[in-house]
Symmetry: C2
Subunit: 360 residues, 2 copies
DNA sequence: GGACTGTACTGAAGCGCTTCAGTAGAGTCC
DNA sequence: GGACTCTACTGAAGCGCTTCAGTACAGTCC
């Protein structure tokens, strides 16, 4: 007898209590115009009295094949969503766009392989997924495709009908590189984002630099290299440090190593502001001053770049715009819209005090 | 005929193809030891060939009543999770703790009422929920209780068996206030976090200051007031500005108004670093310098506080520890553990250059 | 060689909901 | 007053999976 008390009420409980069919109770919640206002009120009252909270989300999802959530696939741990400024700003804009759509945001953590495990994708309850800067080879991408979930990809090549927003990464680093060569720099060091999805951290031999599955890394590297070869610098001679993650600690380590090379670089080309900010510290560690002894350029133009000491010369990318666009594309797909042509965003070189002509 | 081709394969499809029962296919995925290794391999092969991705997450959730997700209830929009430094740092630590548990993180956006709408809570697919600094009266809390989901609350009173982690907010602001009175300050202005859940922004009359449903605001205000009354200052005479959200823009506006009051405060007591950072700018706006003309203290000790100009005197709270603890409590509840006694974290006054004795 | 024990697998009953094709009955129309 | 249309509601078939109580059968034991 008492078991009815302890079990959570369901549609059925309410239907029985009111003396109508289950379908009618369902309609009371989902299609108010399918029943008389009076009955509806009565149903809702009884439901309330019984402590029934409305249709169970999971059961509803099963029946409707919708889950009212947007999934976001991260390249690494959940934590990166809250600690990497470039990602945070983008997610912020994405969230703000998707907000008010009554969809929750599901964050899918990635691991070393670059992106979430396929089974956590298979398991995720979402109607649309946004992938951000995963390696082209990420198993997670295949999993999404197999589930036939609509997807928008950011900063990576589109695969099989995904909507895409991307950046002129190449143009950005090329501009930064050219700016430095024009200042007269000839000895460079590169602090790179991950080149290969094996979590390595350290100097990257030339073999490792080609065919990176990370579009962003690939493009940014090509842009820098392009600018250097344009003035006759041989790419193989340029030392590259590959940072396992984009944070200051890795940038610092990288800079310390690069500034020990011979010839010592007079300019450090970084692939993110966080790395560049770390490089600033690294230079200080080895007793060099920026920009007198060494110039440092970053990428992203996140807020810390502007207030760094010295303020960072960097390539500005429209992070907010990127997030907003990704959000809008996700909403379009959610409504059954077809993915439009890839959207490409422009970048802009922002010159500040961390760069100067080399001392002859 | 062809419809079989276009429909997504299910457990049944695979079972039929292999010629075994559905239960056996289910076992192949969930309880490998319940069938022979050979059969299992065969099933997995066929599944793979058919493009079957493994049990559908929603159906599985319905059958098991588990969803492999942790929900986080935000007081305001999704976006605050990525833009408020104090929140970001805590979430980062929480995420890092929960990570590797194969649970996704579901972010539930709040609205003006303070926290998510009850129906979005009712709809959320999660096994445990973490509530952060919601008003005591938040409908979302009731909804969680009705769903009988385990909950851990952070920075708010526990209700009905929730696990809790909280801060010595009172002690923190009391210490900050006392420090300033000891320096000789007697004229104060307070920049407060939201007092009442109606989204108001502006000067807060004394009626509005009592009985705030926000524990954090309540405690921090009491701490400040306590320190002031201790030296004979009447609380009603202290101007308080209530900021609708904790960001710099609001802090700036608040400071401009407070510094126009008569007598002009010689110290601004802020309830967050973001507000204090804005107050720094606000003081500058009206031609006052910090700390010569006016002292400013914050709360949180987020990274920007340390690098502000001038660096901010503030109350440090262990944000990382807070997030980590919340994560661990969530994991405990997830495993069916009972909530332990509330955990209370200590704070510490960090004196930097934004505060000084008033000029006589 | 009969009783017992595993092992490997199956059938069927849910999990809680949505939705579609109806049906009953009241109202409208000429 | 018969044909038609609405409105308000119901019955039942899923959605795709897990799980529990079996069953069948081979192996072990004395």
């Amino acid at each position: 007898m008492d078991t009815e008390q302890t079990r959570r009420p369901t549609l059925d409980t309410v239907a029985r209590a009111v003396g109508v069919s289950r379908a009618t109770v369902s309609n009371a919640y989902n299609r108010p115009n399918q029943l008389s206002a009076g009955l509806r009120t009565r149903i809702l009252e009884v439901a309330d009295r019984l402590g029934y909270l409305g249709p169970d989300p999971v059961a509803r999802s099963l029946a409707t094949r919708k889950s009212a959530a947007v999934a976001f696939m991260l390249r690494s741990g959940l934590s990166s969503a809250f600690s990497d400024p470039a990602l945070t700003i983008m997610l912020d804009a994405l969230a703000a766009t998707v907000d008010g759509r009554d969809h929750a945001l599901v964050l899918l953590a990635g691991n070393e392989s670059g992106g979430p495990r396929p089974d956590s994708v298979a398991r995720a309850q979402a109607d649309v997924v946004v992938a951000y800067s995963l390696p082209d080879t990420a198993p997670a991408l295949t999993a999404v495709r197999q589930r036939r979930l609509p997807m928008v990809v950011v900063d990576q090549p589109a695969t099989g009908g995904a909507a895409r927003v991307e950046l002129d990464d190449f143009g950005g680093t090329q501009a930064a590189g050219r700016y430095l060569t024009e200042l007269g720099h000839r000895d460079f060091g590169v602090i790179s984002l991950t080149l290969q999805p094996d979590g390595r951290n350290g100097p990257a031999a030339p073999e490792r630099r080609t065919g990176s599955p990370f579009r962003v890394t690939r493009e940014r590297l090509s842009g820098y290299i392009d600018a250097l070869t344009a003035v006759g610098i041989a790419p193989e001679g340029v030392p590259v440090w590959e940072a396992a993650t984009s944070d200051r600690e890795h940038g610092r380590t990288a800079a310390r190593w690069l500034l020990q090379q011979n010839p010592r670089p007079t300019a450090l080309l970084c692939m993110s502001d966080e790395l560049a900010l770390g490089a600033l510290q690294g230079a200080r560690d080895v007793g060099l001053s920026v920009p007198q002894d060494v110039s440092v350029v970053g990428f992203d133009d996140t807020p810390p770049a502007g207030v760094a000491d010295p303020p960072l010369t960097t390539v500005r990318q429209p992070l907010v715009e990127k997030g907003r666009l990704a959000g809008e594309l996700a909403l379009t797909l959610l409504d059954g819209g077809r993915p439009s042509r890839p959207v490409r965003l422009d970048v802009e070189l922002v010159v500040r005090a961390s760069s100067a002509a080399p001392i002859r």
